[in-house]
Symmetry: D2
Subunit: 417 residues, 4 copies
Amino acid sequence: MNSEIKDLKLSKAGLEKIEWADRGMPVVAMIREELKKTKPLKKVKVAACLHVTSETANLMRTLKDAGADVKLCASNPLSTQDDVAASLVKDFGLEVFAVRGINRDGYYRHIRKSLFHSPHITMDDGADLVSLIHQNGSVSEQPRGGTEETTTGVIRLRSLAACGRLKYPIIAINDADTKHLFDNRYGTGQSTIDGILRATNVLLAGKNFVVCGYGWCGRGVASRARGMGAQVIVAEVDAVRALEAVMDGFRVMALKDAAKIGDIFVTVTGDTTVLGQSHFPLMKDGAILANSGHFDVEIDLKALRRLAKSVRPTRPMVEEYSLRNNRRLYVLGQGRLVNLACAEGHPPTVMDMSFANQALSVVYLTRQAGKLPKDVAPVPREIDQRVARLKLKTLGISIDQLSAEQKKYLASWELGT
Amino acid sequence: MNSEIKDLKLSKAGLEKIEWADRGMPVVAMIREELKKTKPLKKVKVAACLHVTSETANLMRTLKDAGADVKLCASNPLSTQDDVAASLVKDFGLEVFAVRGINRDGYYRHIRKSLFHSPHITMDDGADLVSLIHQNGSVSEQPRGGTEETTTGVIRLRSLAACGRLKYPIIAINDADTKHLFDNRYGTGQSTIDGILRATNVLLAGKNFVVCGYGWCGRGVASRARGMGAQVIVAEVDAVRALEAVMDGFRVMALKDAAKIGDIFVTVTGDTTVLGQSHFPLMKDGAILANSGHFDVEIDLKALRRLAKSVRPTRPMVEEYSLRNNRRLYVLGQGRLVNLACAEGHPPTVMDMSFANQALSVVYLTRQAGKLPKDVAPVPREIDQRVARLKLKTLGISIDQLSAEQKKYLASWELGT
Amino acid sequence: MNSEIKDLKLSKAGLEKIEWADRGMPVVAMIREELKKTKPLKKVKVAACLHVTSETANLMRTLKDAGADVKLCASNPLSTQDDVAASLVKDFGLEVFAVRGINRDGYYRHIRKSLFHSPHITMDDGADLVSLIHQNGSVSEQPRGGTEETTTGVIRLRSLAACGRLKYPIIAINDADTKHLFDNRYGTGQSTIDGILRATNVLLAGKNFVVCGYGWCGRGVASRARGMGAQVIVAEVDAVRALEAVMDGFRVMALKDAAKIGDIFVTVTGDTTVLGQSHFPLMKDGAILANSGHFDVEIDLKALRRLAKSVRPTRPMVEEYSLRNNRRLYVLGQGRLVNLACAEGHPPTVMDMSFANQALSVVYLTRQAGKLPKDVAPVPREIDQRVARLKLKTLGISIDQLSAEQKKYLASWELGT
Amino acid sequence: MNSEIKDLKLSKAGLEKIEWADRGMPVVAMIREELKKTKPLKKVKVAACLHVTSETANLMRTLKDAGADVKLCASNPLSTQDDVAASLVKDFGLEVFAVRGINRDGYYRHIRKSLFHSPHITMDDGADLVSLIHQNGSVSEQPRGGTEETTTGVIRLRSLAACGRLKYPIIAINDADTKHLFDNRYGTGQSTIDGILRATNVLLAGKNFVVCGYGWCGRGVASRARGMGAQVIVAEVDAVRALEAVMDGFRVMALKDAAKIGDIFVTVTGDTTVLGQSHFPLMKDGAILANSGHFDVEIDLKALRRLAKSVRPTRPMVEEYSLRNNRRLYVLGQGRLVNLACAEGHPPTVMDMSFANQALSVVYLTRQAGKLPKDVAPVPREIDQRVARLKLKTLGISIDQLSAEQKKYLASWELGT
């Protein structure tokens, strides 16, 4: 086989995880059943650079069942579940290039390998595939289209498109309502808390919990931290969002002030150096630092290391930085996505909707090949709505429909008062 | 004087209300101080059809101080504060046409009077002025521009613009972040609860509280009702919003199911006949019905009257409908906006931001006269941001700025991983 | 008639209020139906010193229907609803001594009048009747027993009993689970918010809301204020309660620190001079002060007046104190119970349980006359449980019963592991 | 050595855990420093049957440093942390009898071994030591006193004392305010959620989460589940508590109704067979069952096994029961305490207070030896208050003191109105 994984013998545990996740992903399962019959991805080559988790596995199965030829690599060296990778190779016949904890060289080798078949469709979680394709001439033929899962990746791709350099159309999965309204808020919200608890077992009740960034992810984290009894402080650079945080009942302040009183800090901004050398020396002894933004640049660990007398592991995934001022700061998961590094990432239920959009968007890109502009495009509204309706169905919830009279009222301007 | 108000002698109480509101509207006050000096609205004729409340009074003062010639009429016969109207005439020299509880004829006469000077700028809260201008040829000259405060009005105007019939540019105040993210959510949220409590004094804790519609207003109402201990049920026709409500921890169901268990119902959809003849007979004895949507069409009172053996007032603003099934339903404020009919509308702090956008948009429309397309346009982003920054300033909150490095990171696609 | 009330002609509005409240008091109604048949209070003379509200009216009706000879006076000069008093006299044939806003002399004259028939049973809300009886020899014969509604009153009576000077047995209604767990928490919680909103119409979202005291009432107020989006700060003198507030997610600090940042202050401690001369000068311009504790001693208004350049009313029930430091503080309802002075007191649903305990306790005291020690006693557990069961029944909620096996398990120590 | 543990070589990881926990237990650390100097437990023999976790380790160190001769065994076969046990033996010189997952025989052998030195003081978490001492004559001499940590244990001991058979005084640690108000509510609340997330990674938002029992633990679990976005349903047999749950905004219903709609069930009642054969067949496919009550009797696993076609593990700590109706139920941690079986038990911060009470109570029992009645007694109020004050100090929070005037007011009955 061509795959590079940790150990094929781990496949049994991986299969159990994949099946467990499948129980939480009924929408993807319904779509899989359909695509299995219609095979719309027959002979379509797909390269996917995603977190190699049990939920991703169910997306990959779906593309395979739809007829695609899939290569999968990891979008983050720390998030790979080696047993899931093993099962994907053994039980589902995919090519996988992913080993948990691999070094930088291995990480990029894996990404390159996933492009060896010169894919028709790329699937990204942080724009690594598309970046490589743009920089290197690493493929013999331009892909027909691609998908991008994250806010961070979409920002990068929009920047590329804005200067006219994007070479093929990308669908911004992240912008689907059924993705970003759920994944970023409820998924990141819960799994960030989960990661912090698994890593530290600290009581959140009564703690000063500082959330840096009040986008969809930050709202989710802030809401769940408050739900666990924490006293949440929000730091935000956008004035409107800062006001929303105030009205939502949170304290809002500049980070240099929050740094002095926070017990736990979570960065979730999509930007770089959010917590840096000007903040660390202000922090209390025992402060805990975690990142839930896509890249591990939000906490400036280089600066922290410079400020530290010593660094040592204390618990798994917790490193203690002893500063020269004799205070100790604890960094979780090496500043990488705390929900993936210290917990299991988004719960299957949330990924169900993101990945339903992914699967349907790959089919859409295949059908529309050549017709779409070289730009970042939203998930088609029909797909987004379909995913929402399927999800409600699986929850056993029925909702009202607008009556003809109500539709007419909404469309009319003469009525009223 | 040309004004039509209840009684000029009420002005003292009105002035006290206006001053009290002014204390809660520091952003409008800061803008007023500036416009007073620069007089950008000198000789500009303005017709405003807004809820005649103490907060609106402070907006009107601001336009006057900026040099405008202002006529004000009421956008809802039940929301007028007669003492405020009196003070606006006596203490601030405005022309006002508004009497609380006036009948339909009087209401439209007032609207027409406010147009007698053929205004340069119209200000609407439900599109009544602009509707009249479009239907009647009621003005000698087209206005240069207008503003619209509400979601409902914007829907009507977009519908008009879509068929090419909008005769002058309108700025959708409602779409400003500093308006709809705050006014609709926090303002409507609190004041709806306030209206229900003043009208009924029922304990919300433990009650089944049904919110019809999960837009910004519905979210606000649902969140506050839960904050008071109610068990909130959401009814919504949009699948994505329905899913959000589920994930936010609310029960979601079709109205025919909610009708059977609700203790309190609030409609806040912007649509018609949300609660109608198919729901009333299902409701429990003692159920309370209130509307927080703009128009009084959301609860079908005609149908309810048909189903009733008798109707009688019980408390001020509470009417008891005794149905043939011997159950009694209680309608608050005649199905009109419960926060205005039974309480005092949005608190000044919230209106501060909406009305700061209004004042700055009127200045903008004046400056851009003739240059804007005949369409519904958003509040310019500079105005929106300026309002947010001023508001944070008045709250004594300082927030971080992006560093040069952070701006560069956000704009760049090569960085990362 | 012997009654002293404002105006008998107000009775119609009062009757409507009483009937409205009755709809929210189904437990008292069920008890009334029963007592009406059995007449256990025949020839029993009752003096009641309670807030003269529509809910109290339904308790008084119940005692009357049970056969009692009832005289009612007001326990607070500002809480009397004159129309309810009128209806009690006219429609229900009670003797009532209560006029809203009466001066101190009138207030005590009313209390004395309610004792003219030398009652068998006293009912207090703040221990005024029992105090008078103990101080003055104002009755010809010792009562057989009494009830006390409030925490504050119970503290006073325990103090009296502790030194052996209590002359007759008192049942501490406040200590019933079905009273203090509901009335103090949910009733005071909601109605305090209600009073503040009616008095001021301020937006609570984003405000620093300082709750002084974290007993049952304080918890209720803090919880509801947070539910409306406020940022709640708790001040408390008991270390355990202070810790609970921290773990419940509230900021906790000494009042001298909270004074500097609070936008709204609510005292709810049962103690005196909680906010005093050391705090007022620290407060921000525009700060709002309200009391929800029983007596109007929690905010030291004498000290505030000494510190003020001027005092003037702004809105009904809001007085502006302009301090020498040019900051303005706003006191609601003259520092009296804000939920009664500015709103309508506890909602009927809550009073339903308190007053069910009252009615059943009066019957109990009558039956046990002469057998009870001269002490403060709890509501008998049978009464408390019966009230809870009746209340669940009226809510349509059924709960599980312990199985025989489960009862045995709980009673046994040999089982386990 | 006499100890029976898994492997002494695990001690390094154990020591790291103990030190990590110590950072979260500053109150115990302060007490340890003091007792180390005064040695009040010199020559005192202690037998402790507690969960062998890193927090317990810090309590044991404290007793050792105070001079005691300590033997420790496990109070639950699944909660033992083998590495912590190893470190206690190697680094702190204790005798420990505890191996994770040991069978029933081994479990009781360990308990008996901890009694070999005929202890002066017993420390229990579920009354196992005291039960054995009462049943077997397993000690040569009666202990002078004992402590009991849990609600469940206290119920058993009260039952024993009530029939006059308790042989020595026991202090009910659980009844200290600084224990049960914090440990049961905030500790069990968070750690139950933590256990469920680690075991399943399910999204809680939008799930029907059924909490069986609304005591302190149940409140904590319900509150945190709601904080994570779940729709919480409460089942409770006590009418007053059921009403509280309603007013706190939860749905309340009998278990036979909740069984049909729940996605997740948590038992936390202290009673037996809460979920049993009448409930399992009603449950939805995929329902998750967890227990957070002390003993593993709350979910009737025997009945569940009888109803199942097959049982198999799916994830670690998750067993799938396939029922004859083809629905699958998932039991976490074999129905044992989910927070210990699937997570790490209470966070150190919470145990800090419980264990501060334990340490000070052991000293108290030693000093009062022979003077206390053979009954279950509360933690002395001085100890409780001292723990609260120390805890606030470690949080950096200062609170107000009552003034002389305020104390006098509270103690007086003449003042008021």
